[in-house]
């Protein structure tokens, strides 16, 4: 009974909060891979987003402007990825590794330059909001009390991505590119343009996820603070079947497993083991699902 109580009032909300950056990374991964581009650089795009958001908030005192900074930084790194991969024809996976390394080095370098240590100064954090009336709902009220705006923004982004992919002609074209870029090209789709725009939007989403970590969930930048959430997003995207809704649900499942350790699991199961769960589950799903038809066939193929 006590567990049930803490489940609703603490674990579920925390799980949802932890899922926000992972879900944003997962949607970024879905967009990229549906376009046939392997985007391992999401981790790095999130990291520069987190850093830029803190710089923005530090300079202007406004966390909202900070978040805009973060989105722009993520978008710029997305542009870097797509330019190097699509225009300059680099190996996509290697490019992602380079993006992550660059983001790590650059953010540490600049943090040390600005603040003298590997931790930034504390910055103004995005204020939490409480939805009037709804917060009075007996049990579920906790979801409407003292939460960040991201809490409500995420479902909108997921819905928008879902509608984009399945209800608009642009989304269908994106999926066509992922299945067979050559056929898409001969059908008159500007594959390169789609990839440029898509990868930049993915970068913006990743940057938003990083900004959430640094100015909404926390209020400072710490070296390597994304800590694998970008890769966890890629895993969620695979587990979710390259589909925004599935990605979102998978992210929540993974984050929920993480949040458990703060309340119950730590005493029963070692934290490292609960942290292994998302990767183990994704691997098992990859092995168990016989048909790979869900995966974009042209992943990593330029044309």
């Amino acid at each position: 009974m006590q567990f049930l109580d803490s489940l609703i009032t603490h674990i579920l909300p925390l799980g949802y909060q932890l899922s926000i950056p992972i879900a944003l990374a997962a949607i970024a991964a879905t967009i990229s891979e549906r376009l046939g581009v392997i985007n391992l650089g999401i981790e790095g795009q999130m990291l520069v987003g987190a850093f830029a958001a803190v710089v923005g908030s530090h300079l202007t005192g406004s966390p909202v402007i900070g978040i805009l900074f973060g989105m722009i930084a993520g978008g710029v790194f997305g542009l870097l990825h797509v330019t190097v991969c699509v225009k300059l024809r680099s190996n996509q996976a290697v490019c992602g590794v380079a993006i992550n390394l660059l983001a790590l080095g650059l953010t540490d370098f600049l943090t040390t330059l600005i603040w003298g240590t590997k931790i930034s100064a504390l910055v103004t954090r995005l204020p939490n909001v409480t939805v009037p009336l709804l917060e009075r709902i007996p049990i579920a009220g906790v979801f409407f009390r003292n939460q960040t705006v991201f809490f409500y923004l995420l479902p909108l982004i997921v819905a928008a991505a879902y509608i984009f992919f399945y209800k608009t002609r642009w989304g269908l074209r994106v999926m066509a590119i992922g299945h067979n870029p050559q056929a898409a090209l001969s059908a008159g789709i500007n594959v390169v343009k789609y990839r440029y725009v898509g990868l930049m939007i993915a970068g913006v989403l990743a940057g938003l996820g990083g900004a959430y970590l640094s100015v909404a969930f926390n209020n400072a930048f710490v070296s390597d603070m994304v800590a694998g959430r970008g890769f966890m997003g890629i895993a969620s995207n695979i587990f979710g079947g390259w589909n925004p809704l599935g990605s979102f649900l998978a992210s929540f499942l993974f984050a929920f497993a993480q949040s458990l350790r703060y309340y119950v699991a730590g005493a029963v199961v070692p934290t490292q083991i609960t942290q292994m769960l998302p990767y183990a589950i994704t691997l098992i799903v990859l092995i168990a699902v016989k048909k790979r038809s869900r995966a974009p066939e042209a992943m990593g193929v330029l044309e």
Binding site: V97, G228, A235, L286
Partner: protein, 359 residues
Amino acid sequence: MEKNKTFGSIGAKLGDLGSSLFSIALALAMGAVIILFMGLNPLTAYAELWRGAFQNPTAIANTLSRATPLLLCGLSVAVARRAGLFNIGAEGQLHAGAIATILFMLAFPSLPRILLLPVGILIGMFAGAAWALIPGILKAKRGIHEVVVCIMCNYLIILFCAYLVNGPFLEPGSHVGQTTLIAEAGRLSNLFVPRSQLNTGFLIAIGVAVVVYIFLFKTSLGFKFRTVGSNPEAARAGGIIPEKISIGAMAFAGSIAALAGITEVLGKYYRFIDGFSPSFGFTGIAVAFLARSNPFGIILSALLFGTLDSGSLRMARVTGVSSDLIIVIQALVIFFVAIPNITKFFKLPKNVILARFDK
């Protein structure tokens, strides 16, 4: 790509070498621009970096010792790459190797050195190979992209090692995640310079480079690896089964990456310490790509990255240029090397840089 003894191939080799050197120069130049923006003198900074890496025998020894795991990881990535696979899992495989070796040595501390050391190393290599079989088999049997599986495998084994050394195998009374020290008999000996970190692991790594070279270019199995890597359909037509090669290549790559972890823990720390690898496996990707997966080239590029690592501390201390700049420079090197025909974006006459690129 390596048709022997024709003029064209010499041109191609020089072209590759030229574009690798060009990539390094470009990355260092961009690093210099960043240092200039900081209002500091890049030449002083790079001079201190050089001094930090080579000023005395101890510094040189430490530089070589830093290059050792990078060399092994680079070779691991290169073996897979030659067979057409991207081994982004070296980081996990080196953890698997290191933990297996250490646990074996902790379990049998009283074995004589002649048994403990070779068997311990072999068990670690076996563990690395076995761990790499997961992406290898999934690639061969299910066609799942090895990069995706390697990422999952990396996290799984790194977290599992963290659990082991923070839980059941935590040194009693320790506040950081580490095992107890292994027996003297299991440690790699110090090499050439006393009180430096250089140990026989460096010689092992050089030996592996030679073995990989001979394997890839002088054996029929190595030829099959390269055939599958350059054209799997042609290989299949020629009677080679690419799936088998994929599995074998990953196992081989995994055992080499494992050696990177094994030589670190046996030669430097004498125990498994949580987080002992500052992403050797990922830097190994850069090392391999810079050398275009040529085993002897990898020795040079590992030395370069080892130099940057070991010199950067002195550069930071003396000039105030943070050692994180080195990570930026390494990332830039990967970008430039990964872009085909990087030199063509800079309008130099073709014959000056002997540009002929086959990739």
